[in-house]
Symmetry: C2
Subunit: 408 residues, 2 copies
């Protein structure tokens, strides 16, 4: 009975959200830039963060606040990353304190995230000043989720929002989330934020286990890796209001929950890849027959991260040689003479390489296939049973435009 539903980050019982304009984004007075997500009751909470050595202040604060595995609320802003910035941690703590005061909880029960320009002091006073308005605007509705989703956008062109419903332990459990991340076009890129909520009853330990396993097969399979920006954060709050027996160990209930979480996060991850900065095409690269899953993942990530492959897809050019080249420098050992490559989309499926050698193929059909917004690169290797799918996007003139003058 696992299926997608409406409501985004407010789909689960007991979660409210809001998004308003506080003035962090000074150049765009009409753009929402602060979001608040609140659970009516305490939640088991877990998060995964950037592996970057340079960690933004809110990431360091969240790590401390999650020490007890509990949280009530999330406050997040766009427009300033609060990374390498003066008074970073103090200002991140001030954001938590302001939210806690409005909510009536401890500052340690609030998580904080920021995204935007690095190295400049965050306008924490503007955020503090808007918290009463933000709190007053909290609602459990699709509109409220929409407002929060918009408030965390930077160069995103569309909001990322999804929710699913599943049966866990005989109860209906809901999971929802919002995300941002337009800069995942390349492993080096800008911040990914993702806030997930669920009414499933689950222990702090098990929600953490589920989140780690899910991030591995969803967000960490967009572009090359999770070692991206200074601010990357994916956190989940579980408030237990669905009334299922608390999931405290692995078993059928955990599996059902994990399945739902993976479905939700894979959807959000695909939305992020498809909205990569300047992107026109979502690229799904599936490697099958690799030595093992890790090898398939490394090779697939190498292909979707290859700037040359991305440029070829932008040009609707079936330049499969670049796919082989990217496989070759992935660091994985394999026999190139056993590799087959297909390009596919709604418009058809065409094999361009067999046993490592080029095939004569219908260039017109290939171009038609590659004109579609969603494109598959399917690779078969005959080395073993390793299978993995990763998602990326093309690189375009707009990518250069967006990033050539992002800061000023």
């Amino acid at each position: 009975m696992l299926h997608f539903i409406e409501g985004g980050v407010c789909a689960a019982q007991g979660f409210r959200a809001a998004g308003v304009h506080a003035g962090v984004k000074t150049h765009a007075a009409w753009k929402k830039d602060v979001a608040l997500i609140l659970s009516d009751v305490d939640c088991a909470a877990a998060a995964v963060f950037t592996k970057n050595v340079v960690k933004a202040a809110p990431v360091r604060v969240d790590i401390a606040h999650l020490f007890d595995g509990k949280a009530r609320a999330i406050i997040a802003n766009s427009g300033n990353a609060n990374a390498c910035a003066p008074d970073g941690e103090a200002n991140a703590e001030r954001m938590c304190a302001a939210a806690a005061k409005a909510v009536g909880c401890q500052p340690e029960d609030v998580l904080v995230s920021s995204t935007g320009v690095i190295g400049q002091r965050i306008n924490v006073e503007a955020i503090e000043a808007c918290v009463p308005e933000l709190y007053a605007a909290l609602e459990r509705s699709s509109d409220a989720s929409d407002a929060a989703a918009h408030a965390i956008m930077t160069t995103d062109t569309v909001k990322k929002e999804a929710a699913v419903e599943a049966a866990v332990g005989g109860k209906t459990v809901r999971l929802g989330g919002i995300a941002k991340g337009s800069g995942m076009i390349h492993p080096n890129m800008g911040t990914m934020l993702c806030f997930l909520t669920t009414d499933c009853a689950i222990s702090s330990e098990m929600i953490k286990t589920a989140l780690l396993e899910t991030a591995r097969v969803s967000f960490n399979r967009i572009s090359v890796d999770g070692d991206t920006s200074t601010n990357d954060t994916c956190c989940v709050l579980a408030n237990g209001l669905a009334g299922n027996a608390v999931i405290a160990e692995k078993g059928p209930d955990y599996d059902a929950f994990l399945d739902a979480l993976k479905t939700l996060c894979t959807q959000l991850a695909r939305e992020m890849a498809a909205d990569g900065e300047g992107a026109r095409h979502l690229i799904t690269c599936t490697v099958q027959g690799a030595k093992n899953e890790e090898s398939a993942e490394t090779i697939s990530k190498s292909v979707i991260s290859s700037t040359l492959t991305k440029a070829a897809i932008f040009g609707s050019d079936a330049n499969w040689g670049r796919v082989l080249c990217a496989m070759g420098y992935s660091g994985e050992a394999f026999d190139p003479d056993k590799v087959d490559v297909h390009f596919a989309s709604k418009a058809g499926d065409i094999q361009v390489c067999a046993q490592g050698r080029g095939l004569a193929f219908d260039e017109d059909l290939a171009r038609k296939i590659l004109m579609e917004p969603e494109i598959e690169i399917n690779i078969s290797m005959q080395e073993g049973t390793g299978l993995c799918t990763c998602w990326g996007c093309d690189i375009t003139y707009d990518y250069i435009k967006i990033n050539g003058d992002y800061r000023t």
Copy 2:
């Protein structure tokens, strides 16, 4: 007395070169596409190749031909990489055989290189047909070096050619070379070829040692790494005609030769980075005070390979946060709070980050500095004495244009 001289790949005694149009580049009948470089006498020879698992046929043939550490000639073409192509090794051998027949040597004494599109059969018949014309055109002149340098260009906008003169063992020794590589804008990019000649007397073992050491600090410090295309090749022929005592071990003569080789190759490497596909700026990133040289190199390469940093430089945007971010995901451990960053060029020098925090700086001066064609990013880390310089370039609209439709 080490200094740059004219003559390129023909600067050293006893080397002739030529470049003609054979018809491999069918779309551009006026463009030279085959080059021949010949020594009057047998040479000690060495080469370094791509580390890509997918190796082009000419690379595999060269590895075999260099087994005895000797060579007489190099034949090279642009327009087709002869990689993942039908009959690849047979056709690469045919190119060697055709050159050997004209020259009057064994096919095993000829090295072969190709660059261009992957996966299509090379028009070896056209190359064979042009060899007599190519052989007849051989000359020891700057014009001949120029013709050979042009014949190996693909998307390069300028030829890469340099030569130096040095004193080795009391004799005047000359080293020269030509190179191509416009796609070194990113580690994933297209082929780098470099053909070096010298009249220095040196053993096969020592020329190989010198080439490995030189490649490490020159070509392998453009963009991320040597693990690039299927065809990357840098080879050197040493014919001994300078009359110095043969260098057969390390010592002052070897050091003098190595110094000259490094000077030559660093110059060619810089020329390649500056002519990166679509590039408008050469970026020189120097990291000092890293834990050690390896750490400095890893961090410097991470910075020059960061697409976001490259886009910022394209936009003349002093977005130093992206520099810190790229350092942070390099995989090296360090304390961000000890990092200083300067941007510099002919127009000035400006510090933008001190102890990991942003400084207020003159944005107009920063922009002026970043408008110059050659830009320095200077990073100081206070972790140790590790020092390394790497070279890269910005990413531009033209890069996307060039690579969006390269094949067709």
